[in-house]
Symmetry: C2
Subunit: 488 residues, 2 copies
Amino acid sequence: MAKEITARAVNYSQWYLDIVRKAGLADNSAVRGCMVIKPAGYAIWENMRDQLDRMFKESGHVNAYFPLFIPKSFLSKEADHVEGFAKECAVVTHHRLMNNPDGKGVVVDPDARLEEELVIRPTSETIIWNTYRDWINSYRDLPLLINQWANVVRWEMRTRPFLRTAEFLWQEGHTAHATKEEAISEAQTIHEIYARFAEDYMAMPVIKGSKTESERFAGAVETYTIEALMQDGKALQAGTSHFLGQNFARAFDVKYLTSENKEEYVWATSWGVSTRLVGGLIMTHSDDEGLVIPPRLAPVQVVIVPIPKPSDEIMSVAERIAERLKELGIRVRIDRDDKKRPGFKFAEYEMKGVPVRLGIGARDLKQNVVEVARRDTSGKESVLLDGIEQHVRSLLEEIQDNLFKKAMLFRQEHTSWVDDFDQFREIINDKGGYVYAHWDGTAETESKIKDLTKATIRCIPIDQEKESGRDMLTGAPSSGRVLFAKAY
Amino acid sequence: MAKEITARAVNYSQWYLDIVRKAGLADNSAVRGCMVIKPAGYAIWENMRDQLDRMFKESGHVNAYFPLFIPKSFLSKEADHVEGFAKECAVVTHHRLMNNPDGKGVVVDPDARLEEELVIRPTSETIIWNTYRDWINSYRDLPLLINQWANVVRWEMRTRPFLRTAEFLWQEGHTAHATKEEAISEAQTIHEIYARFAEDYMAMPVIKGSKTESERFAGAVETYTIEALMQDGKALQAGTSHFLGQNFARAFDVKYLTSENKEEYVWATSWGVSTRLVGGLIMTHSDDEGLVIPPRLAPVQVVIVPIPKPSDEIMSVAERIAERLKELGIRVRIDRDDKKRPGFKFAEYEMKGVPVRLGIGARDLKQNVVEVARRDTSGKESVLLDGIEQHVRSLLEEIQDNLFKKAMLFRQEHTSWVDDFDQFREIINDKGGYVYAHWDGTAETESKIKDLTKATIRCIPIDQEKESGRDMLTGAPSSGRVLFAKAY
């Protein structure tokens, strides 16, 4: 099996597609740019969703659901927003089909034209703020801390499974606050949750920062981002949290009465992560043998394989171990197939990224040991049956930890500090990765650098010491380095 | 608050809308026929979803996700299916908006017309079976037991929150099998799961049966249904499970190689329940004081209210009780508001349907008791602090049980056995409820009865003794009674 995966060094882009296909994560569909998320891929997304949902709820958020459709006129109400989204919208114009009067099949019924066209939500700020107008009267109604799990559609021209698809699944938080400070603090809280989720669960190190004006969300005053580095040296924007100021409150006339009985516009945030994270997960950890999933998000954490095939004795040991692992909250599966050879199965579980594999053979059992194989290092060892559950539990933690450290090491090796533009261009072209460089703070320079190198400013990092310097291209003064990279 | 709810006896339909609005379950949206599911309503749906999802997974199903869009031509491939859904479809015809050349706002860009229009899925059989063609080659690929949680759109003309909305949330299972028997058995397994969920979790008694041909799902060979009775004497179809035969396999050319190397069409089922269940829940249990939610699905099962307001002593007791309830897996909330009066709060929690309310007052604490109030009977009692957690746990079970019994009693009182058509018409018009009557098995008679009385055959019950008789309208022979009612 593994041989059918293109090596990363040969063609990274094809390697990614091979992993997605061979590990059964997603499939193309009959609709341009839309993927089918297969069970193995969806199970990873479910684990991500459940953990994020817990984190949102622990920080006081609740879920709700708003319509899929947005009246066309809503999009126009916030000037930047319409500019950002109108060009990639799926538009519903009719509400009925009819039998084709000329013969077979069905056609759109011309009499069923909508008075106002509806756009499939590319994001829900407009429909939600139009609703918030009815929900918010006084400071007592604030804050509103609402999240939505939903599908959205952006008619992208070039798509790639998980990373960029016309339809994708995501969560979008939309909060309303009485003060600017509170809204900014909310956006930062979520930014922190996203970073914690990426690092502690996805084992994917991220740089936290704010976006430059030209990279901000359409309608935001400030966009906080987490940026991850993929194995091909390109950055992936993994989650963004926006402070929207009063832009949407003004556009949809959402005011509240303060405790002093004054009318004020409401302050807003919005924030989202999507199935794109599954793409990030794949590209951060996987190797030429297949998918690698960090244990905390792995749908199956441990697989037990009877060697060479199921027998009563082996299966009774397998059942006992599985039972005890389940009691420890570990997701375990026993392979009961009695047709395929162990070697074939091993390659299959390697391909699918199961973190730990236990091989139980009759010979090993005589010595009271089982073979424990870990996916991350391909290491194998014989472990005493007695206490195997605790061993596996620690091993899963160790793998989680190791994957993070490995990704962090990769990032360190692919981070450069550059002051000279020629060197910058060379590094961006050849080595790739992150480059910290000085920038004069203008959109013109940012755009020039992008045109010359395809690198963009991923963020103005938060955890970065201020350092005065000169823009590498223009020589104009700069008060600190920003993070450049080519990006997905 | 409660006074603002219309009494059921005065106007049942308005009562329902009042509950939905005053308990904060849903709101109208700017898009015709689409509702906003508010946090209190969504939390109920989340609990339903999580429990159903567990039941599906325990019976071997996995989740996946298929595109929102269906190419128009797919709908036409199954003749009954297109007949059933084409007339209420949202149709996407364009993929871009542009600035209005005549002035303000945006218009549809005429250059961005799709080659083939896309329909927003009203249900996903067609796109899924088009995909299954690639996934299924041999009997080794079967069965496929896949479920999807998704939004769907049916352009209904008359809508009501939860019960009938243009967009709704649901799950749709789509399974593929090697044999007819296995597919039928799958449809029945799910039918059983739906019935168990309705009765054990929603505390909503249901009649299990099959649909008559004219009431079947568009494209099904057999439709199994669970039918619940609402307090106005109308039936609610609460969940359906379809045996689809080989209809979709033929339409999308999905064949498999048997173990004898013969090519056969694949057998199919599909099944779904939706946010309509939230409407059923409301209408089964709620009363003129507000919402009533069975404890197993209540987002908040117990609320602790300090009387008359929070004090250090009261709050420390409240925290201790809440902690212990949480340890028992009970969802509990402490009301920390120090402005509203207890009476106001009591009415509010009554309206919102919290099953158990604990009132903690300084005077009661001196006697080591708390006041325990239950939503279902409005009963109150003083209970010793010592062991209060166990008391509350039993009480929640008792309430769950009592709600089911109450609903079952209502159903018994509203079920009639009728042999005479005039009497049938009278009961359907005046008393309402279920009527078991003989039917000659023809679509003509079924349709006549519907025209004359608005009653439809809800199902041919499964748990019903065969009994020979004569159709109440035509006098033609019948081999058993079927279940009639007016329905939502």
